[in-house]
Structure formats: C-alpha cells, structure tokens
C-alpha cells in the first residue's frame, strides 16, 4: 500500500467513525479553524459521516477570506501605479475589492503577476530592475515566514525594487475573538496543521486553560482528521486538553528558525479582519529596520483609497457571518445565484479554502 493510501484506508476510517459515534454522548460541536480542513472534510464526506454525533463548524482560517475589502483596494491601487508590478498568490486574483479585483485591474492594464512563491517575486524584481515589484504578503503563520525570508533575501541581494504589502495575520487571536464573541457554541477546536508546523502545538494551550475547550492539531488526510476528532470527543468526555494528531509534521514548540525570521522582520500589531473587525495583536507589520521593503511606506496611494466603492457587505455578501460560523454558506441569499465561483461577490466563494466554495463544490447543508 502506498504511503498516501495508508492515510486513507477505508477500514481504518470506518473503525474511527464507529468509535467517535460510540464515544459522543451529545452532539459535539467542533470548529475546524482552517479552510484547508473545511475543504478536505467536505471532499471526503466526513461532515455527513460524523453527523449527527459530531457537528463540524467552519472557522475563519482562510487568509484570503479574512482580508478586508479596503486592503484589497490597497493592493489594486498599487497595481495601477505606473512602473509597479504587483505579485500575488493565485487565490487573491479574483477576490473583489470595493470596485474591482486584481484580475479586473489587469484587464484594465495594471501589471499583476501570479507567483507560486515570494522567491518568484524576487526573481521578477531581479529580472526587471526598472520596475518596482510589490509582493502581496497574504497568509497566516504558515506563509508569513516565507515572505519574511524573501525580504531578508532582497536585503542581501541589495534589491531596491522589491517591497511587500503585508496583510499577514495571526491565527490564535482570531480564535480568541470568536470565542469571546460567544455567538456560536464551540465544544472543541480542530487545530490548523500547517500553521502549527510554525507556531507549535504550544500556541493552542490557551484554549483549555482560558476557555476550557480542547484542541487537537490535525493533518489533512482523512484518517488524520478522524483521529483528531476522536481525540476531541474523548477529551470532551474527559477533561479539556491539547493533543497533537499530526506529530509527524508538528513539534510542541514549532519551527524556531521560522519564528525567529518572522519576528526579525515583522512586528505584531492590531489589524482588521473581514467579519471579525479589528483584533489587537493579530497582524504583522514590517519593522522599521526593514522600512525600505515596506510597500505601505514606499508608495502613497491615499488619494486612490479616499473614495472606496461599495463593500461586499453592502452588496449583500454575508461572508462575515460565514467566517464566524454564525450562518452556513447556503443561508446567504446570494449563495449559488448572485454569487458563484465564476462570478463571486465575496472571498469565501473565491478561495480554494473558502467555506462557500467548499459548499458550492461538494454540497454542504446536512438539513437540506
């Protein structure tokens, strides 16, 4: 049996599901923080397989989805500046700002390049020294160290035409914000696997300590996720704790090199999240020492941003409530009619990690 198949063995999956069903005394409500988990859970049909004993709730863990409209406008304004190329991960291309998306902007003549890695953006800057290349720094703890590393690389290479618009965000403060709001009952949290490779399992210890709820860090294979859910159901019956169901990839204290590089380049500050509002100590801004690589300092686009168009929210989009798990995607009146993957209104329908895109693709509502 190949390695991948060993993590997807149907007999082991049936056993785990049976054990979860036997152990769950009441409906256990588990929030999967990460959008990657949302898609994997739906792709393998685990929501249906675990219902009604376990109810999976989709959390805010999609970096593109939680990026504010105004931040997208900022990226687009940069792309419209003469001599500037905006480099972005593909997910961001079709997310609408208040007037247009980066894809629309490109159609209107702006220079927008899709990149797979921040290092590809560095290569673009090296290839064309006459152009300013701005990398859109989107992503959680998983991605932020890679973008920080690109800034260190640009500094070593003495690049004067590379900068970053940092929209990076930290995940534990968002989890806190959801729990503090108290809008939804969450019994346990499926911890994000790849964020945790960087932060370590230690980042989630506040959940049992301060909120009395359990967390199991999980990989993305079906058996990884089922094993983590079983850990959580056991913990709910027993005592709140944090467990690591992804020990092959995640260490207790995470990746110290990545943490150091991230801390060297970025300072933690307050930032606005779509749906969750301003959250203290949840954003990463470029430190003074690296000001030369900060697109916010390098380019003034305040005039272009002074007159925003209508926000997605004003156009009827309910992504904010979807991100807080207050509503399921198909409760939004735009879902599947006014908002589809081909013509999205909100980011949750665009992103490969968005809950609306997952529901649209795999069908979601258990009551339907």
């Amino acid at each position: 049996m190949s390695q991948a198949n060993a993590y997807r063995d149907p007999d082991a999956a049936h056993r785990l599901i049976a054990e979860i069903r036997d152990a769950a005394m009441d409906t256990v409500r588990i929030m999967e923080f990460c959008g990657g988990h949302t898609h994997a859970i739906m792709r393998y049909g685990l929501r249906q397989a675990l219902a009604p004993q376990v109810r999976m709730l989709s959390g805010p863990g999609c970096p593109v989805c939680v990026t504010d409209d105004r931040e997208i406008d900022h990226a687009i304004a940069l792309a419209h500046l003469p001599g500037v190329t905006v480099a972005t991960f593909g997910d961001m291309m079709r997310v609408p700002g208040t007037r247009e998306s980066l894809l629309d902007a490109r159609a209107h003549g702006a220079q927008v390049e899709m990149v797979y890695s921040a290092l590809d953006a560095i290569a673009l800057a090296q290839k064309d020294p006459e152009r300013q290349v701005v990398m859109l720094g989107i992503g959680f703890e998983t991605t932020a160290p890679t973008v920080a590393a690109s800034i260190l690389q640009a500094q070593r290479a003495n690049l004067s035409n590379y900068s970053v618009l940092s929209l990076h965000k930290l995940t534990p403060p968002a989890m806190r914000a959801i729990l503090d709001a108290g809008e939804v009952r969450v019994d346990a949290v499926l911890g994000p696997g790849h964020v945790s490779t960087i932060t370590g399992v230690a980042a989630w210890r506040f959940l049992p300590r301060q909120y009395g709820i359990s967390c199991a860090v999980s990989g993305f294979e079906p058996l990884d996720m089922l094993r983590a859910v079983r850990d959580l159901v056991w913990a709910v019956n027993d005592a709140p704790r944090v467990s690591n169901a992804y020990a092959r990839g995640v260490a207790e204290t995470g990746n110290p090199v990545a943490q150091r590089i991230m801390g060297q380049v970025f300072a933690v500050g307050s930032t606005a999240w779509r749906g969750l509002g301003e959250i203290p100590e949840s954003g990463l801004a470029i430190r003074e020492d690296y000001a030369a690589f900060d697109a916010r300092r390098r380019f003034d686009v305040s005039e272009a941003l002074a007159r925003p168009g209508r926000s997605a929210h004003e156009r009827g989009c309910r992504c904010g409530e979807v991100l807080r798990a207050v509503i399921e995607p198909d409760a939004c009146p735009l879902f599947g009619t006014g908002c589809t993957p081909a013509r999205p209104v909100g980011p949750c329908m665009v992103s490969g990690e968005g809950a609306c895109a997952a529901y649209y693709r795999y069908g979601g509502n258990l009551e339907a």
Binding site: Y7, P63, L119, R248, I261, E353
Partner: protein
C-alpha cells in the same frame, strides 16, 4: 493557502533543496529548515520547506491506522460468520 505537501529531498545545495514532485525535480528553499538532510521528507509550502517530517512519528501513526483497519476487518469477519451460521442451519 496553507497547503503544504510532503516531498522527499533528493539533493541539497547551500540553502536550496531538490525535491521530487511527480517524477520531476523542483528546487525549494531550506532557509526555514537548515537542519534538513538528503533523504528526509519535508512539508513544502510556497517554495519553502517549512517542516522536516519526523520518520518515527510517521511510522507510529501508520501503525495506529493499520491496527484500526485490522480491528475493523476482524469485526466484519465476525459479523459475516454470525450471519452465515443461521443460514447454514436453515439450508
């Protein structure tokens, strides 16, 4: 966005590693995982190794899953035997 895939390191050159992806070698940065060695499996995210997979932990997880699968198959066998016993009597 937080997608990362496990790949095997075929060669290392300074702060770059060649990893095998679908039979093709691709270069990724090891700036975040300087401890990586040839032969290791790494998680690759946006062109960077972000974690070196722990072989022993992987084996333990696979052993656990194999045990669960075995338990399930035994249950299925037992149920099949129970089902077949009365029908054998009937015939």
């Amino acid at each position: 966005m937080c997608l990362a895939i496990p790949l095997r390191v075929a060669a290392i050159n300074e702060d770059k590693a060649s990893v095998e992806l679908g039979g093709v070698l691709r270069e990724v940065s090891t700036m975040l995982t300087p401890e990586v060695r040839v032969g290791d499996y790494v998680l690759v995210h946006t062109g960077f190794c972000i974690s070196v997979l722990d072989e022993q932990e992987a084996q333990e997880t696979l052993a656990l899953f194999a045990e669960l699968a075995e338990a399930e198959r035994e249950l299925i066998m037992q149920e099949a035997q129970q089902d077949s016993t009365p029908s054998a009597e009937a015939s």
